[in-house]
Amino acid sequence: MLKQVNSSKDLIHLIKSGMTIMAGGFGLCGIPENMINEVAGSDIKNLTVISNNIGVDNFGLGKWLTKRQIKKILASYVGENKEFEEMLLKGEVEMEFVPQGTLAERIRAGGAGIPAFYVATGVGTEVAIGKETKEFNGRTYILEHGLTADISLVKAWKGDAAGNLVFKDTAQNFNTGMAMAGKITIAEVEEIVPVGQLNPNQIHIPGIFVQHIFQGTNYEKRIERLTLSNQI
């Protein structure tokens, strides 16, 4: 089976309404822009979205929100998206806030075949409501469940036709775990290099986790908070 395709257009048929989708990125850093735009241009709806954030107004996952394509979201922080905050306050979208470290670990666990695990994060807060607890060494922990997705959309810096991925700087973030946790993982990369050119010692995600890969185009890579040393 050939993993490499030409563009996001060749893969959009894999995504159906009602699916659970993971989308990598932290804020707008390392988001799969091509696949996000492809879904935003389709009539796919009722998606459950797992992502650390939900883009900004009308960029990144914010586009899905504007088009009312999202039924439910699991995220740790949505503060950069005013439209979402309003929809949430009005009850127009379901939301599960997940502490960021718990979210990362639930995704990693899901991809690693671990159904659940205990953490201290959230004990005594509303995050713990309805969750099983257990004491270890005199401290209370809550049971958190692993997460998987029908489709994971991830973005890497470089990749090859075998699906091996290398990330750059802090654009790695949630992409690594999500690549592991997708039943089908679609990786878009800035550059596809010939097989053999990536150093096997430096691959972040081995190709076993990636079902489809393509070289993305027209990356905007928008900066949320441009902060320069001479401004402060």
């Binding site: 804020g27 960021q100 807060t125």
Partner: protein, 218 residues
């Protein structure tokens, strides 16, 4: 005179020790990096996947792929490293971070903290704050002592949804440095020119004042 945000950061910087790995939250905590003395070497952790965070970039070095947890563009120092989110929180949850500084809406006299949600008004989410306060042994809260209406933010019990329980041990506000004990807030230092009475008035939770309270040295 109440401390400015910069002075709160300056006071907290005195708590930093050589060799520390530190996570600084958004807002006042970010400013602390500016006041760490040159003879102390610390490594800044940013939970989006960066250890060895450097100063903000110039126009020439700015890179959309390199940001901090506050989504600001930053740089990486020569001894720095990048990693994914689950490893980043393994550093936090596993107790490898020596000091965490973050902001708060409210802190209670038992060390509970509320910092992520104001029901009906503001729902942004907790980000990494719940993980940080549940894991860190050494947490300092940087906050204003009272809100804009002059009401205390150091309470008997938090009124807002909690970020964590019984986890805060030290607080630096614009008026004072306090520690949290089994019996409530313990006043340790006053901001220069601020009287003990002003601090008592601004603190709703139980405040323990023992002996002469020294002025902060900045």
């Amino acid at each position: 005179m109440a401390l400015s945000k910069e002075q709160i950061a300056q006071r907290i910087a005195l708590e930093v020790k050589d060799g520390y790995y530190i996570n600084l939250g958004i807002g006042i905590p970010t400013l602390i990096a500016n006041y760490i003395p040159d003879n102390i070497h610390v490594t800044l952790h940013s939970e989006n996947g960066l250890l060895g965070m450097g100063p903000f970039p110039t126009e020439e070095t700015v890179d959309a792929d390199l940001i901090n947890a506050g989504k600001q563009t930053v740089t990486v120092l020569p001894d720095g490293s990048f990693f994914d989110s689950s490893m980043s929180f393994a550093m936090i949850r596993g107790g490898h971070i020596n000091l965490t500084v973050l902001g708060a809406f409210e802190v209670s006299e038992t060390g509970d903290i509320a910092s992520w949600k104001i029901p009906g008004k503001m729902i942004k989410g907790m980000g990494g704050a719940m993980d940080l306060v549940a894991a860190a042994e050494n947490i300092i809260v940087a906050m204003q002592h009272t809100n804009r209406a002059g009401e205390s933010k150091l309470l008997k019990q938090c009124t807002l949804p909690l970020t964590g329980t019984r986890c805060i041990k030290k607080i630096v506000t614009d008026l004072a440095l306090l520690e949290v004990s089994d019996k409530g807030f313990v006043l340790k230092e006053r901001a220069p020119g601020v009287s003990v009475n002003e601090i008592i008035k601004a603190t709703e939770g139980n405040l323990i004042v023992e002996g002469e309270i020294p002025e902060m040295k900045l």
